[in-house]
Symmetry: D2
């Protein structure tokens, strides 16, 4: 493993510097390299063609912001030892290591009952064993058992470098310039009091801007109706494939590791061989399957897959109120006649649900402002706050996806 | 097909506007959508992690610049009919439609004996048939049989919108800011005289800058030794897979269309089913194969594939002179002992070759400068030219790739 | 006057195109060229050194956005005649022509009782006479008497191109990247219904972002306490100079046009010679005076001017509550002893006041959202609005400026 | 003087950090603050309206790059003491302190016989005295008598941070994006061998790009014919004013310090009061004079000044060959009749000269490339050099400025 400094070009931050052997070792590990093959934004590129960056790229970016934030805090006199610094960097590098194919889109579909963060923890423990305990403190920081809570808050909190990077990076690659946040100014405004991460008073407006940018990115990008629809189509393809396998239908699966998870009938702990298989699974396994299945005799599966491949997507309505049952019934009736699908099959092509996003919930998340006079207040409680209590209720939207008969041919 | 205007976010140019039904139809076609699944820069992302943009994105970008260039020329009084305008836009949208998986990296390996431009032409003809001749003029512009040569020169020439977009886009996504060119200024300086594309006198420095940026991008990015080495490893994996198939070894291939080409022993015309299969082939077929093969019993194939997947690459030297035969022999000798590979097998892991790039060859390529007094001169012949005759010789470099014994394990 | 097209480089938008003889004529006029010599952001450069751009630059930028907005509306089928288009462009070019030196900072100090917008109107009328009525419609659009209100709303309204440009440009030149707004997206979302300017439903988040960016720019930049303090120092210098002139003190004034206004005892209509003089007045007259006065025997005047020149500014507190009278008295008492100034003189160096900014007041300003179903609602009344009624109250802050005894020496 | 860290927003680099009391002291000094009132690019804003940034801003930017460069060299193991680091920063902050109004445009006109660098040295010595020798080492670095030549080379050499900043900054503010250089990459490629500044082998293309960008900026911006013409008009205004003063004409001068230099008949050493006056002189003195003089009875002076103020400039031809004497004579003859100027007076309005720029002269300037094998070669002598010997000849161009009779009215 290289001992010397390495510089990586990043279109977002210019250069990212790697200068510690353990960081090199983590980045060079096949588990980490797998993140190259998982797109950060799943199907967002169907609407925003530039949004094809990888989880590896995001995690390097978050690492870079962590380096800057630690540097800033140290320059303000916050005590951070070299081991803590290294461990916080390792923790952020690995915070997303447990993501499966298509990131959030397939979470709970392919591997049921496990959150990606707990998989991250399991993989960190594997790496820790390989490195004879060198990741002990990184793991403590990651699962918030380390004695300096601000280090965990930098990894995972309302104002963590994860969010700062993904908002910055996703807005960069989508071209949605309005998602831009002042990450460098926010970092310069960070401080620590009583072990907790805080923001200096004069950073209030930057934080407001950060929360508004996040709100915008959710509704304009992450929950964009077309993206949402495509992700549901992938979920339905997997569900159909599992159903066909269960009912004994012959189904080619182009990847043994994918096969393992498709054939798994009930949620099982992700251990041993299954964890090992997970660490090989990526977008390529899924898309190769979707491509093959687009020629499968099962019309439900092949239609879903062909539509995904050719970007002939389901129509999607995203609105403040659920669809009228009568309209839904009319649409289904029409499709039953036109497509030849059965009622049960049609459920793969006509369905509804809800999605939501909260601008800022001061009960669970906290952004604390440290005033010059030493008092601390939540961002939602400062004078003339933009971020108010009525923003703490989740905004719910109802989606309704349905087949446009012309697209299924 | 939508009739109305559509706006696509592009991080490079802001917004790209689609406003003609035929353009919609072309973009919505599965042949075009396939370009989503082919990375523009193949393995460049192994060095520049942001370089994961697709051929579809590049071709939309080139289309955008074409729109601007035609607008500019019309505002200068160049006669361009609406049909010519539409056809030039279609021609540039489809100029790369014939690219196979991993773009240039696998050209002549997977499909032998056919250049991607002639495949583009074949696919354009398929689309033309589907659209009852609506692409006639686009095809004439593409293969330079249309009566106004400047339209072809905008699609494919020394200063075409293809190059302007790929230099701009590749430098954007890699973060190599020095590859930036003044595409907007160059477009504002374009003009037409006697049917030929020219550059106004005051654009000379922008053109110099363009050529120097291209020179830099070639040596710093496109021919980066690590990228070059990874691409050769993919080529060798395909060669090995073909060899194993020919010698009757059992080899899983996760995609029927890929299987077709791997089993093809001799170059065959790309027609009928084979052309149809080609139009379904993309990076996912290849990477899914590489992933499976990384577990194959053939140690040559599995080693190459595993190294690619895990980014444990061959060592590469790229230099002005070929390696000394004695050094090569010593390295081979050492590897023979350490790896257990045979001499023939070692050829997949130790090999050399040459690569070259020409900054500007005035004999084949021409950038004509139109002076205020009406005279025309080649950019290499203006006063105090930066672009001189000694830049017209190709710069050759010699690469030498070899296995680092530690990476193969 | 040039007939041909001219292209102006703009670091913010790339290129600005001028292509009509009347626009050329207006831009070439000495009245317009005077705007080169008035800084858009007055003393903001004392905090943000890049903020030295001119009113001329801003007005060219607003003109550019007007061109884009009109183009967009026409492409959506809004009826706009060529004369209306030209007139709207002239109106925006000239909207700020009535600004005096140091923009808003000296408004109502040097020329009392006249708002810069009414001066703009007077100058437009002068230009209209010179051009034999060619500006008739531009003037109607400017003072909102033209029959299509949306044209006036583009020049002056809650979402006008003036605000879009100054937020964009000021955030660009200050480097406060958080002030960036999605001007291009907002323009793409503009539409007209019943003659009124509206925003399409899907532009809601961009508008929220715009209002939050404006809020941030006000508190972080325009009302920055140091900038505010410096502007008050300039106002006090002028007040002192006027006082000295009135009391018969000899005072060199390096510019005859400045002399005219300093000697004016009572508000007089800005007509004839006085209007002509105003059209020659710019930042250079003021700063040349400040420089000379920094050596004047009157200690109040010379101290204020020297402090401004050398950036040894007054201390400023900007806070939610007014200063305690007791603290003010203590500071004054201390300064009386240390500086030798009289009570009356001290008023130039110790003073307080209030400033305020409203994020969005739906009663006076209106941003109307046009929903897909044809209904129209104010941005503050849409579902889950970020922009709420409690943001319609002005936020007041109290400033207190005082001399740091060390700075006056 | 503040003890704590201060952060300055810069639109070019994001944030510039000041963290040493002596740096604060230098920046707060009136001599340094004067640079706020001197535009970096003189009259370039007449063509590029954004180019209004100040010398103070440039010098802060160069300081920022110096911080980065020193940081980079230290991380590569180059020995640099804290005192050397501080001194190099002070040296670059003050490298341009000796510039007079309108930067290069008036050099040798207002103050004859003294180069701005020797004035910088004098002012540094004044500041050194005020600070009791704290600037001793900075002065040694500035005048290249310090024992580590690379420190001087960073301040003033072919690849110094001065050039890197002005190319970057000027291209940013003009919007000429093609002048962009990869300053951050160049800095990462800097190294020191035998006490001399060098560039690592893999930085060759970035250096080529730097030299080509500089070539472009010279011809497109710095020597733009309109800018050049305006600067000559200012020079001629000063010359005329001096002539009038010498011949006893009454001439108002709005600034005592300007008066001192205008009345100076012969070159005198810049010492004592004259040096003190120089340290108060800035663009405002000059422009205030130009404004007043635009109403002066002397028609030569008032015409020149009025044309400058109103941007009705001389026509300028800039070409490879000098004008034909016959054409010049014809133009003069025509103007003699139309304007009523005498032959001698006409010399202020019709004149010619030459200007030149060298892309790279390896004899005087040196950019040394350090190869991996330890050899050192000049950039013009590497294999396949773009920067060749025929680029070492200066490119000469001939300008011819003349009055357009319509502009003088």
């Amino acid at each position: 493993m290289a001992e010397r400094r390495k510089i990586i070009n990043d279109p977002v931050y210019g250069f990212i510097t790697i200068d510690h052997p353990l960081v090199f070792k983590v980045i060079s590990h096949p588990y980490y390299q797998r993140l190259r093959r998982i797109q950060q934004m799943a199907f967002a590129h169907l609407v925003y063609p530039g949004a094809v960056h990888s989880r590896l790229h995001h995690s390097l970016g978050a690492y870079h912001l962590m380096c800057n934030a630690l540097q800033e805090l140290k320059s303000k006199g916050v005590a951070i030892t070299p081991e803590e610094e290294l461990s916080a960097k390792i923790a952020i590098l690995l915070h997303d290591i447990g993501h499966g194919p298509f990131s959030h889109a397939l979470e709970h579909t392919l591997i049921e009952g496990v959150h990606h963060e707990s998989i991250s923890l399991q993989i960190m423990q594997l790496l820790n064993k390989e490195n004879e305990g060198a990741l002990d403190m990184a793991i403590q920081i990651f699962n918030n058992t380390y004695e300096k809570p601000f280090l965990h808050q930098l990894v995972s909190g309302q104002l963590d470098v994860d969010r700062m990077d993904y908002l910055t990076r996703d807005s960069f690659f989508t071209g949605v310039s309005e998602g831009v946040i002042g990450y460098d100014r926010i970092i310069k405004m960070l401080t620590v009091k009583d072990g907790e991460l805080m923001v200096e008073e004069k950073g209030i407006f930057s934080i407001e801007k950060f929360l508004v940018a996040r709100r915008l990115m959710y509704w304009q990008v992450y929950l964009h109706k077309t993206v949402l629809g495509a992700e549901k189509m992938l979920v339905n393809s997997i569900r159909r494939a599992k159903y066909l396998l269960q009912s004994g239908t012959n189904l080619p699966i182009p990847s043994p590791v994918l096969e393992l998870f498709l054939n798994q009938q009930t949620p099982l702990p992700l251990e041993g061989d299954r964890l090992d298989a997970f660490c090989q699974l990526d977008d390529y396994d899924l898309m190769a399957a979707v491509k093959i299945w687009s020629h499968h005799p099962d019309k439900v599966l092949s239609t879903l897959c062909r539509m995904l491949i050719n970007r002939k997507l389901l129509k999607v309505k995203l609105q403040a109120e659920p669809m009228e049952p009568a309209s839904v019934a009319a649409i289904r009736q029409n499709l039953l006649q036109q497509t030849g699908f059965s009622e049960a099959e049609l459920d793969y092509f006509v369905f509804s649900g809800e999605t939501s996003n909260t601008t800022y919930d001061p009960r669970e998340e906290r952004i604390r402002i440290l005033f010059k006079n030493g008092t601390v207040r939540d961002i939602s409680e400062v004078d003339n706050a933009l971020i108010q209590h009525n923003l703490s209720r989740p905004i719910k939207k109802y989606y309704f996806c349905y087949l446009d008969p012309g697209s299924a041919t």
